[in-house]
């Protein structure tokens, strides 16, 4: 065959591999997982000068084939043809950075010893020039006997030369395998580069350094970082509201359409409440996910993200985490799902695991509707300032929780060997909006698909739990009441009705509507969820809850935001305006006959504390299971978090009895 079908793209992390990959494959990319490990598999299709297609596999970044992380292990295994799911590539594109040729050639020379044809791409020649480094690529080409292509992948400079190399007959490198250790290899590399690389004498201050002087400054660095984070949170929690409202409206409209075209019945309820309600509840978070990945993508693309880890490392080291855990945990404040996915950038499996286990403690945005509702109940006469203070307290509580459990897990999981933190700080570069956009789009797709499939299924199941079993007597009563209602409604709508008839019809409509609400509530109590609520009542009484709240707790185990809509059904028997639900709940009295309100300060506080800690998001459990490749940790997450939530809420309720 004249030109290879499959190229593997290898190089150090942060080399601009992704940029080259995008340049070669454009939009024809696929992201998947290597089975058995949580390492991303990126493949794409490119076209050479003959018009033939070839495949490119973007192998995970590696510093050496002596693998020290799961990422490097995959790269090593694929190049050796050891992975059943990925055949050995036909040739390898070795990407090296012109400003640090020796270090990058360490991996490249290892690859050359693998008996595979090689093309060497010397990237970032512009940055090298700024540093006063010139590389005689032609000389290297002669010495190695393989194409050595200078390139600036960012600016798409050098692509034609690369295409020539890709379309030609592949060649194996003229490289003698190195015997010995790292020092020996570097010595051999030094000989290879003799006379081919020139460094200018003067000490140059790179543009990156100028940026770092400000961005990592002891004072300005922090101000800028908090400014950026503040901007992120502001966007997430206020600006995102606009698209979120749009999505909410769209799903609402969809529900109305179904209601207009379908007769009343179980299936219609399943579709409107279960499916549309359930899926809508997840899709509404899409704007936040996209915004989050936009910010993170931008920070990573420019090289700023490494500086963030650099600055935050000290704060995380105290509890056994490292700076790279900061961004996943920060992301989890919007939603733990992308946060846990972001732990892939951490090399240590142990660190990844700990971060994944504590990520759900961060108060994600799904909790916001619950917080808002409960705080309003807790402080009905409170000012906005007081309410904000409580909200802040909840966030502080979650931060303390994150640190505390990080500490606990750090002690629990003994470290087999001290992991070394080597953080590479790449030079800054102009953001590629295209790359950031593509990444955003990809992540959004994955979020929708993952959360959507699981939540869709669970919403349906949840709906079933709150609907079945039905009491046939109540069903009959409901059917009768509805028939009367429709009859009277028709009278009201018709023009020929007389005034006194109209009045009477109006009264009947009102009474029947109330009656139907009451019957629906009774039906709910009769359902599986209702029975469950009653069953757990003795367990949750010490926390200040009754069986109605129990239903809310049970229902929101799939997803927290379900609590709000469930409470609406519990207290009104139907989807209603939040204000009317809140009124109802505020008016609810305790079952113990004392006439005291059910939702007093103590109970509300206890509920809030419960929601801070409880693991109530089956999508997150699903992601944890997927990212850790086992059920063990996912189950641990549910158990330890919910168990702690129970104890914390219990303590809150009981102890607050002394103060309130």
């Amino acid at each position: 065959m004249s030109s290879p079908r499959t190229f593997a793209l290898v190089g150090n992390p942060n080399t601009g591999k992704t940029t080259l990959f995008n340049a070669l494959t454009g939009l024809r990319q696929k992201v998947a997982n290597y089975p058995g490990v949580t390492v991303e598999k990126k493949t794409g299709i490119g076209r050479n000068r003959h018009g033939e297609e070839f495949t490119v596999i973007d192998l995970p970044g590696a510093y050496s084939l002596e693998a020290k992380s799961p990422d490097e292990e995959v790269t090593r295994a694929v190049l050796h043809g050891e992975r059943a799911d990925t055949p050995k590539p036909d040739a390898v594109l070795c990407l090296v950075d012109a400003s640090n040729l020796e270090r990058h050639l360490y991996l490249a020379t290892q690859v050359m010893e693998l008996d595979l044809p090689v093309i060497v791409v010397v990237n970032k020649t512009d940055t090298a020039e700024e540093l006063g480094i010139t590389v005689a690529t032609k000389k290297l080409e002669e010495r190695l006997g393989v194409p050595v292509v200078p390139m600036q992948a960012h600016a798409r400079v050098g692509m034609e030369a690369l295409q020539v190399a890709l379309s030609a007959e592949p060649a194996k490198a003229n490289w003698k395998p190195v015997e010995g250790d790292t020092a020996a290899r570097y010595a051999a590399i030094g000989k290879l580069l003799e006379g081919a690389v020139a460094h200018s004498e003067d000490e140059r201050i790179t543009p990156s350094d100028k940026w770092d002087r400000v961005l990592v400054h002891p004072v300005f660095g922090w101000l800028i970082l908090f400014g950026i984070l503040g901007g992120l949170f502001f966007t997430l929690f206020s600006l995102a509201g606009y698209p979120m409202d749009l999505i909410d409206g769209a799903f609402g409209w969809l529900g109305e359409q179904v209601e207009a075209r379908m007769a009343e019945g179980d299936l219609r309820a399943l579709i409107t409440e279960g499916i549309i309600g359930g899926v809508g509840g997840v899709v509404i978070f899409l704007p936040q996910i996209l915004i989050l990945f936009f910010f993170i993508g931008l920070m990573e693309n420019t090289g700023y993200l490494a500086r963030v880890s650099f600055m935050m490392d000290r704060l995380m080291a105290g509890v056994g985490l490292n700076g790279k855990a900061f961004v996943p945990l920060l992301s989890s404040y919007a939603c733990a799902i992308p946060g846990i996915m972001a732990t892939r950038t951490m090399e240590s499996a142990r660190d990844r695991l700990i971060t994944t286990l504590i990520a759900p403690i961060t108060s994600c945005s799904a909790r916001l509707p619950v917080y808002v509702m409960l705080i309003a109940l807790m402080l009905p006469a409170g000012t906005a300032g007081q309410k904000a203070l409580v909200m802040l307290g909840l966030y502080v509580l979650s931060i303390l929780g994150v640190y505390a459990f990080a500490y606990v897990f750090n002690r629990a999981f003994k470290q087999t060997d001290k992991t070394l933190l080597v953080l590479e700080l790449p030079s800054y570069q102009r953001p590629s909006w295209r790359e950031v956009g593509m990444e955003m789009f990809d992540r959004g797709k994955i979020f929708l698909r993952r959360a959507g499939t699981v939540i869709l299924g669970l919403s349906i199941v949840l709906w079933a739990l709150t609907t079945y079993p039905k009491d046939p007597k109540i069903e009959k009563q409901l059917a009768d009441a509805e028939a009367v209602l429709e009859e009277q409604q028709q009278l009201l709508d018709s023009k020929s009705t007389e005034q006194n008839q109209r009045e009477e019809a109006g009264n009947v409509v009102e009474a029947k509507t109330k009656g139907i609400q009451k019957l629906t509530r009774k039906q709910l109590a009769h359902s599986a969820a209702g029975k469950l609520g009653h069953a757990i009542e003795p367990m949750i009484e010490p926390l200040g809850y009754d069986w109605r709240m129990g239903i809310g707790l049970v229902a929101s185990f799939a997803a927290r935001e379900v609590f709000v809509s469930t409470m609406s059904i519990v207290y009104l028997g139907e989807e209603a305006e939040e204000d009317s639900v809140r009124e109802r709940m505020a008016a609810q009295k305790r079952d113990d006959g004392t006439g005291k309100p059910a939702y007093d300060v103590r109970t509300c506080l206890s509920l809030l504390v419960f929601y801070v800690f409880a693991m109530q998001c089956l999508s997150t459990v699903a992601v944890t299971r997927r990212e850790t490749n086992s059920w063990r940790w996912a189950i641990l997450q549910v158990v330890y978090l919910t168990g702690f939530a129970y104890l914390a809420a219990l303590a809150t309720y009981q102890l607050s009895g002394f103060f309130v």
Partner: protein, 43 residues
């Protein structure tokens, strides 16, 4: 109350449960890739 809906809804629920359990308890069925890929075994 519509009669056909009264049994259609539970049918959907049961099918959904079946799918959920099958996907989570028999991952081997999913083949070499994860649900992430738009997997077509073309190459």
């Amino acid at each position: 109350m519509n009669d056909w809906q009264t049994w259609a809804a539970p049918a959907v629920v049961i099918v959904t449960l079946a799918i959920l359990l099958w996907r989570n308890l028999c991952p081997a069925k999913e083949g070499a890739c994860d649900e992430d890929c738009g997997c077509d075994k073309s190459d």
